[in-house]
């Protein structure tokens, strides 16, 4: 398997503050979501990947080369930073054309990049006249102008309007489908789910979990899981589970009298039993949901916040 990114015992600290610690990673082509709370080490990892920081220990290799002070490697890497960094006095077109020419490309590639993010109409405006969403799309254009093999995107959808979010998500997925690699960091977890099932969880400077979201979910089997059921008689439904050893807790919503919340560490068993009761006892099922059924909760469980 061709590995795009390899990290071996990668560690970085700032004085006494730990950035990342002994990270080991092997990433083949594909789209990956890099998740973690603030201060988890995501930014440090991305800065090492983009050659702005040098590890204190261990090594990181991209396409089998160290990214630190290695300009030739950046022919294959596109980077969209998290922060709203821009040159206010130049136009969007001048900026993208500068980037394109720096890669030995020309106006055709610059135009294609502007088209991909929908900025052709406004491209001759100074960047200071751009809205936050337009500036964000411009950053994306600068990252993709040279059609890189590895795209590193830090909060790529920040400030982008809903219509363009959908288009950018499609663009990122297409990148992955072409056999390229995308590493995207985001706090808006449903967006990550929309772009990829492959996630890297980072916490306190260490890789907490890496793999398909479903595989990571299997790790959760031993963790309690919330399931909300809305029915015509929630208290009667709850009574069927009172003596069940797999049910860790039952509660009722203060705001919605039709809702009962079960906490279980055996989801499969619970769903099987619930289905049977609903049919046999003729309950009206209004709604069933699992508030834990998103990446935020997977993450919260894994790091022990829940």
């Amino acid at each position: 398997m061709n590995l795009v990114i390899q990290a071996e015992n990668l560690s970085k600290w700032y004085g006494n503050v730990l950035g990342i610690s002994e990270i080991n990673l092997e990433i083949p082509p594909g789209v990956y979501g890099l998740l973690g709370p603030n201060g988890a080490g995501k930014s440090t990892l991305l800065k090492i990947m983009t050659g702005f920081l040098r590890p204190n220990l261990g090594q990181l290799r991209i396409f089998d080369q160290s990214p630190f002070d290695n300009p030739s490697l950046f022919k294959r890497i596109g980077y969209c930073p998290e922060y709203d960094a821009h040159y206010p006095t130049i136009s969007g077109w001048e900026f993208i054309l500068f980037r394109a020419k720096a890669f030995g490309l020309g106006e055709t590639e610059a135009t294609l990049a502007m088209q991909a993010v929908g900025l052709t109409e406004h491209m001759h405006k100074r960047i200071r006249q751009f809205s936050l969403g337009m500036r964000q799309r411009l950053k994306l254009a600068s990252a993709i102008v040279h059609n890189p093999d590895l795209l590193i995107l830090d909060e790529p959808l920040r400030g982008i309007d809903p219509l363009w979010r959908i288009k950018i998500i499609r663009l990122i997925r297409e990148f992955g489908q072409k056999g390229k690699t995308v590493i995207l960091s985001s706090h808006i977890l449903p967006e990550v789910e929309a772009m990829t099932r492959q996630i890297i969880l980072i916490h306190q400077g260490k890789i907490f979990a890496l793999g398909d979201i479903d595989e990571i979910r299997t790790l959760l089997d031993s963790h309690p899981h919330q399931i909300c059921v809305k029915t015509n008689n929630p208290r009667r439904l709850a009574s069927f589970f009172l003596s069940d050893p797999h049910i860790l807790g039952i509660s009722f919503s203060k705001h919605d009298p039709s809702q009962v919340i079960f906490i279980t560490h055996q989801r499969d068993h619970f769903y099987e039993k619930l289905l049977k009761i609903l049919i046999e006892e003729s309950f009206d099922l209004h709604e069933m949901s699992s508030p834990d059924d998103n990446l935020q909760n997977v993450f919260d469980y894994l790091i022990g916040r829940k």
Binding site: S43, G51, F52, P71, F98, F103
Partner: protein, 259 residues
């Protein structure tokens, strides 16, 4: 197009569109404006019609050699890297397939050209106005030319030093204003070798006329190096500062935003 030429045009465009460029153009014209105002007032019979060349020369030399040729490089050349880090736009530069040092040197070259233009274009009219009655004299023209070229050489040396400061330090502009500025003035009071630890010492060595000094003690300690040697040293120092800045830019890490 060569990527570095492309980068030079990009940086130059930014410089020309920045507010600083307009402000420094105006600041540079202050001596000329003062001289024109004084001459106009004199012509109107306000201050008599005596030759004020010496006063004008003192104003011009003080303004440019003790203030403007330090301030312009300090402002523009410290920001070669510092501004990119502050605005966090360095991410767009150092993710290009261009050597970091060469890219920064290209930006430095763009700022240098603009600094030289600012100094050259504002000093020349002031010198011409100062010597308006003697312009036909070969000696005067030669003196003006040497002063003008010395100012440009000083601008080069201060720019290169500021470039290095900007790469080495986190707040280079502040350090420059509060340490370099006073040092360049203070060091002239020091006897012996210490004077040579400044750029102004070598600039003064090239000057065809002595820089006006308020303190008579300065004249006591005034030493110079032969002009050709001073020129070589200023050029050599500039090359060294640029080389050191480029070398440092390769080794340093770049921390932006939160960790």
């Amino acid at each position: 197009m060569n990527p570095l030429i492309n980068a030079y045009h990009f940086f130059s465009t930014q410089l020309r569109r920045g507010k600083a460029w307009k402000w420094f153009t105006l600041i540079g014209l202050i001596p000329s404006i003062i001289i024109i105002a004084t001459l106009s007032f004199s012509l109107a019979g306000g201050w008599g019609s005596g030759d004020k060349s010496n006063i004008f020369l003192e104003i011009t030399l003080n303004y440019f050699f003790k203030f403007y040729i330090l301030l312009v490089p300090l402002f523009f050349s410290t920001s070669v890297l510092a501004e990119e880090i502050e605005q966090q736009t360095v991410v767009y530069l150092f993710t290009l397939p261009i050597d970091r040092g060469r890219l920064l040197l290209t930006k430095f070259f763009a700022t240098l050209v603009h600094s030289l233009w600012l100094v050259g274009a504002s000093l020349l009219p002031a010198l011409i106005l100062t010597n308006q009655h003697h312009l036909t004299s070969f000696e005067t023209s030669k003196t003006i030319s040497v002063i003008w070229l010395t100012a440009l050489l000083g601008t080069l040396a201060y720019s290169a030093f500021s470039f290095l400061l900007g790469v080495l330090l986190r707040r280079p502009m502040l350090i420059g204003l509060f340490i370099v500025f006073p040092w360049e003035q203070f060091v002239q009071f020091m006897p012996g070798f210490v004077q040579k630890l400044s750029i102004i010492y070598f600039v003064k060595s090239i000057m065809p006329v002595a820089l006006p000094e308020k303190a008579s003690l300065l004249r006591l300690f005034q030493q110079t190096t032969p002009a050709p040697l001073a020129i070589l040293i200023l050029i050599g120092l500039s090359v060294f500062f640029c080389w050191a800045a480029m070398a440092r830019s390769h080794k340093r890490e770049y921390i932006m935003g939160e960790q």
